[in-house]
Symmetry: none
Subunit: 208 residues, 4 copies
């Protein structure tokens, strides 16, 4: 940017927008989309009513912004984990699975409020945007499916279980953990949590 003035202005603008976005995230996570009012959000952001509408065209738009950003980052993460599992391996398979799960848990932990919003309110808001988010969710599931198939083909996973169904299982586990467990956890609990997750995922409950 040549113009330092406008550069500063732009930065201020982005800061403000992000303040409002954070406020909205927090309010949505606490009250849910419908019970949350614009008044709640602007109060949380210490902004004026009109300011909100300078940055977002509507209540729905902030919501969609939050959800889309979360799902997109999630998909990026999944894609990264996907590719990682293709690259030359230096650590044991189990270790790699655990790392993947941990990354994922950390991502959810870092974006806990957004995760709650996504898990709880993501449907039922707006049919148009719903499709996009459903697409993203399907894409995440598809990435998981691919990973499972690859591991089945590599002889690591057995072939009895449907990859599609398994993806549902894993996502369900994640969502439940995000919605009802993670907010009571500390960051230092995550590795142990990942261990448990992996153990359940890979070995099941049966003693052998």
């Amino acid at each position: 940017m040549r113009n330092p003035q406008s550069e500063r202005a732009r930065r201020a603008r982005e800061k403000r927008r992000s303040e409002l976005l954070d406020a909205a995230t927090s309010v949505f996570a606490r009250k849910g989309y419908w019970a949350a009012s614009i008044s709640d959000i602007i109060q949380a952001a210490s902004a004026a009513r009109g300011s909100f509408y300078r940055y977002f065209r509507s209540k729905q738009e902030v919501f969609v912004a939050i959800v889309d950003q979360f799902r997109e980052e999630e998909m990026l993460l999944v894609k990264r984990l996907d590719e990682l599992s293709l690259s030359p391996q230096t650590v044991s398979f189990q270790e790699r699975v655990r790392t993947g799960i941990l990354s994922w848990l950390e991502f959810y932990y870092r974006n806990l409020q957004a995760a709650k919003i996504v898990v709880q309110d993501a449907n039922m808001i707006d049919p148009a945007a719903a499709r996009k988010r459903e697409d993203l969710r399907r894409a995440v599931r598809a990435a998981i499916v691919r990973m499972i198939v690859r591991r089945q083909e590599a002889g690591l996973y057995h072939r009895r279980i449907s990859p599609d169904l398994t993806a549902h299982f894993l996502l369900g586990m994640f969502d439940e953990i995000a919605a009802n467990y993670l907010d009571k956890a500390k960051k230092s609990d995550l590795p142990a949590l990942a261990d448990q997750f992996v153990d359940f995922e890979l070995n099941g409950l049966l003693r052998r």
Copy 2:
């Protein structure tokens, strides 16, 4: 009831109430609690606006009635399965687990609309009622936990995994299946689904 007249009236009342409850369940499942209006419900039940308020004190009350009933029946089911696992056994352990899962899936399938409501909207409606429902959910989880502990003690399940966490995992799997899978399934798919569920739960994904 001595009075046959009032007996008939009572019956009519209950019929009406249940019609409204069903209508509300269907509407809530389709639109979500907040997007659903009293107008939607009374239209679906072919009832007058005022009639609704003769049977339920408020919109929230119907909702709570639906959720509570679902969670209570679920807990009943879990308790029954719990007790079943204590009674003298005639079939193999795996078979019993599978039967339990299947019962559960069938219960969700039978109450699919209520299940969706519970899974998606149950929080965020009203802090007072939320506690009660959280209690019920905790109770369901506790029953699962007890079952797991018993099986750990019986040497069936290994002791590495936290029973509490496992209960989360299993509930998460159920909820995801209820919210995003069951509505595409036929009743005849359920046994196979139960097989997959049990296989994942007991054996995990790893090939051995």
Copy 3:
């Protein structure tokens, strides 16, 4: 109607609707469409906010209802005058013109508030409804044009003036009278006013 109950209800409904319509007409006439608020209207009608929306879907809808009704009645009047001028004549031509003008003036006088609304606010509200109202206005003009042409052909009017333009002239005179004269007039002034109108229309200003 068989059902006297619902008949009474229907009547009450219509009464209420017409109260709101009158209130809206009065408020629009006084303040103009844009400066008038729903609050003004319901206050003038002693109705609750929600009641307004039981009878009209929006502020625009009441407005369109008022304007359309006025223009439709106006067109009916014009059509009637049109046909009258075709029927066998018992009175002098001038007398008939005067009667026509008087009817028209009386119509405007009777619906003075609506007339003001139509003359002043009718455009600029909503492109969709604007077309319909423009159609009506064109139809009124067309009826006038036909009348003029007929009289030209009958040798009553000279042929120098364009009928179309003349229709504009006459409507302009009417609108101005409606917007800026009639509200100061008494009903008993109308015949004299009609005389003046006719004299101007037929003979112009020039002394002969």
Copy 4:
């Protein structure tokens, strides 16, 4: 101005002000006062939001400026025509009337957008300013009235018609033409239009 700097500044200021005024005129004419927003105006003038308020205290003020200027120029024109009719005459009376009408039509044509604004939105904006504009309108009418009276006294116009009413008629004709005819006309149509106008005004419709 001694100071060439400030002279230049003043000129720039006036230019800017007039740009904004023109933009406002155009926007008001297209959308009407109420539907037009400050955003529309500053966009049309390529000015910043704050700049607008350096030149006009409020939205209302621009509007009043436009209307008042129009009505003042109109009155000037009328006064000039008035005086002209007093000065020694070189051309026929009819010719002079025609010239007057033509001047007037040309004035409306030149200021078509302002004319539309004045005709359509002039009332209903603000009671205080309304009086001033009503005064101007009355003054225009008064000038017309004087002209008519003079011609009645000169034996040119007959005495049957009320001068006041006639002024209403003529203004109504003008306004209607301005609002609904002139925008479809070309400048070269104006003389013929003036002919028609004069013919109607002087001779009426009756064939003789």
